[in-house]
């Protein structure tokens, strides 16, 4: 799989416009929700067992981000915050290429399937992040 920059194929879905709009709307809803102090869901796994789930800390991390405390946000859930930053970068890229009408970044696949190595990497990343969250809960890492 390798990257290339090319114009949209006639009739090809404009992913940047579509996903840029969805992510912008989703971010706006999330920020509004948190700013208004509306109720956020409790983690059933944490409530029942005291063990955090792999996505625990997103709400608290978002709260820190809204207050400009990026380091604390990353401590709450590093992987989810990294994904969030990737989403923000994508939003920036999508806004620029859609408004400017520029060619798009696309990946040329060597096959239609995701390589096995990438699958293992994703699983390992999630596992490492979850282990960190569990250890952090046990005060083995600094808290935000």
């Amino acid at each position: 799989m390798r990257p290339c920059i090319r114009p949209l194929i006639p009739g090809e879905p404009d992913n940047e416009l579509l996903w840029g709009s969805v992510l912008a709307a989703g971010s706006l809803i999330a920020v509004t929700w948190l700013s208004l102090g509306l109720p956020t869901p409790l983690c059933p796994l944490h409530s029942l067992t005291g063990i955090p789930c792999p996505t625990c800390g997103i709400t608290r991390g978002l709260g820190c981000l809204l207050h400009g405390n990026i380091a604390a946000a990353f401590l709450f859930n590093p992987l989810c915050m990294a994904i969030l930053f990737a989403v923000l970068l994508y939003l920036l890229y999508a806004t620029i290429v859609v408004i400017g009408g520029f060619p798009r970044l696309r990946w040329i696949p060597s096959s239609t399937h995701i390589p096995g190595l990438l699958r293992i990497a994703v699983v390992l990343l999630f596992a490492a992040n979850w282990i960190y969250l569990i250890l952090r809960e046990r005060n083995l890492f600094p808290s935000g």
Partner: protein, 298 residues
């Protein structure tokens, strides 16, 4: 020289060297109708127009595909669901037919589902039905709370009656916007999980169509008071699994894992742990001469 990109049916087939293109033209893999693009060109142009300029022989005009690099893409396009034929059938008959087909015959419906045609049709169906059914649930909730405040949702149990009604009406009004965003996000996550599991043989549009038609059709069960939303949730999940299996041509377990994986990763891992513990205990039991047999009832 830079490679030449080839596209067919709005999808990229990849980038190829001049030698590969020459070979592809000779074997009939590429035709004059295929679109081509090379660095420096402002837009895609038919290969038939560009080939002579690049010093290649003219490709055959007809589409005689010998080798398709994307075998899973663009196969047959079905005629289901009825919603996409609503101009002929009428709005309400189309909705009723679609709901009936998706809930009662999910396998046949999704096997014959249109794979192309854009995201607007399924999105409109999803937002229209889900928002309406959400409004019905909210009205049930308001009626039940009026009769007995015990039925108020936990988050709103401490608010005044007026605030509660304002919150419910506010949620009904913003629900269409939330459903638009949630349809894309849930389909996107499901498609990613299906890709990770090696079960996504069709583009994102297929997953989006399955999720929209299955979830919206199952939301009609919200009309049943009390237990309707729970039944809808389970039936909807079943229809999505069948839909993904049929539309993507993948195995049932991959479709099941794809829709349960996000839930398992977020708060549901204890279910997985319980299942693993169950399997572990059963295996231990085998090691000790098998699990004790339960007495048989007459």
């Amino acid at each position: 020289m830079a490679n030449i990109h080839i596209a067919r049916h709005q999808q990229s087939l990849g980038s190829f060297s001049e030698e590969e293109i020459r070979e592809g033209i000779r074997t009939g893999r590429f035709s004059a109708d295929d679109l081509s693009w090379r660095e420096g060109m402002p837009a895609w142009k038919p290969l038939g127009e560009m080939a002579p300029q690049w010093g290649l022989e003219n490709p055959p005009p007809s589409l005689e595909v010998v080798v398709d690099p994307l075998p899973a893409s663009k196969t047959s396009d079905g005629n289901e669901p009825a919603w996409e034929d609503r101009e002929r059938l009428g709005l309400f008959p189309a909705i009723l037919k679609t709901v009936e087909a998706v809930l009662m015959r999910p396998s046949q419906t999704f096997a014959a589902m249109k794979q192309t045609g854009g995201l607007a049709h399924p999105l409109l169906y999803f937002v229209l039905l889900s928002s309406t059914m959400f409004a019905v649930s909210a009205i049930y909730q308001m009626a039940a709370t009026t009769l007995n405040p015990v039925f108020a949702p936990p988050q709103l149990s401490h608010t005044s009656k007026t605030s509660f009604f304002v919150a419910m009406i506010g949620s009904i009004l913003v629900s269409p916007a939330l459903y638009v965003v949630s349809s894309f996000i849930s389909s996107g996550i499901t498609h990613l999980c299906l890709k990770l599991l090696g079960g996504a043989h069709k583009p994102f549009e297929t997953t989006f169509r399955v999720i929209c038609y299955a979830q919206a059709s199952a939301s009609v069960l919200n009309l049943l008071p009390l237990c309707g939303s729970l039944i809808g949730l389970i039936w909807g999940a079943y229809c999505i699994i069948i839909g993904l299996k049929e539309a993507h041509g993948t195995e049932g377990w991959r479709a099941t894992v794809a829709i349960t994986l996000p839930g398992l990763l977020c708060c549901g891992l204890f279910l997985l742990a319980a299942a693993a513990a169950g399997v572990g205990i059963a295996e231990l039991g085998k090691g000790f001469g098998g699990m004790p047999q339960l007495p048989k009832f007459p």
